[in-house]
Symmetry: C2
Subunit: 129 residues, 2 copies
DNA sequence: TTAACTGTACTATATAATGTAATACAGTTA
DNA sequence: TAACTGTATTACATTATATAGTACAGTTAA
């Protein structure tokens, strides 16, 4: 489920954060579902527990999970999400990448198709309009 | 034109790379236009010339600029662009961010609007379909 | 209550990344 | 030739990253 590339220039804890975010966004990890414990995941991936903890701490700061001492780390329910990565920042990132796509000659139609595919899988519940 | 935040956790050379990429994508820097010299930009931004050179080297590796010893660094013409950031990688990045946007409740309509705005300013020339 | 599991905190250590500083060399241009 | 370009090198300091070991505190189930 989680794959780490030790030879990557991207820090391990950052790979973990992105990996778990992806699992949450795609619905593989559901609200209030328990994540592997720090020690268990460290053992599975042959990585130091401190590194796992750093990733979990980061995910907590971003508002994607919450932790309970003695019980574990759990996926933050969507409705309770707050203080997470700012939507404005997220939209800015998307805008920058779309500008680049336009610059390198990727067609608008192609980008729209990506949006369609993503929103087809997980029905749009409305929101910022 | 270029703004650097010395207190940011993002490395200076990386800020420079993103800053200059943005200038290129938005058309502020045109094909074959000369960038400020390493020493000049270093002086302007009160940053070490080595850091500027590192950013320029990175931009060259990404295929966005080319350098000529004794003359300077110049914007790589779009048609000559090759070995730049892989389009597949770029599209993957966009897909990930759109998944996140969907997850946090941003509407599809809102994302489409962003695409429209970007492609309105710089007319789509066709490309990957 | 105890045993085994959870998260968390701390110190120490090693390596890599980042940034600055100074110097030198090579190519271009007026 | 003088003054500008890019490039390369060495040295140093600071920070980020990752590991290792230990310890403490809360939770859960036997």
């Amino acid at each position: 489920m989680i794959h780490i590339d030790l030879r990557s220039r991207e820090p391990i804890y950052e790979q973990l954060v992105n990996n778990i975010k992806e699992l949450i966004f795609s619905g593989i990890l559901q609200s209030d579902e328990k994540l592997p414990s720090v020690r268990e995941l460290a053992s599975q991936l042959t990585i130091n527990p401190n590194t796992i903890q750093k990733a979990y701490k980061e995910l907590e700061n971003l508002g994607y999970i919450y932790s309970a001492r003695g019980r574990g780390n759990f996926v933050m329910p969507v409705d309770d999400k707050s203080g997470g990565e700012n939507s404005v920042e997220l939209l800015n990132k998307i805008t920058e990448l779309v500008k680049e796509a336009n610059y390198v000659g990727i067609s608008k139609k192609f980008i729209i198709k990506i949006i369609d595919d993503v929103y087809r899988k997980n029905i749009d519940k409305g929101g910022i309009e």
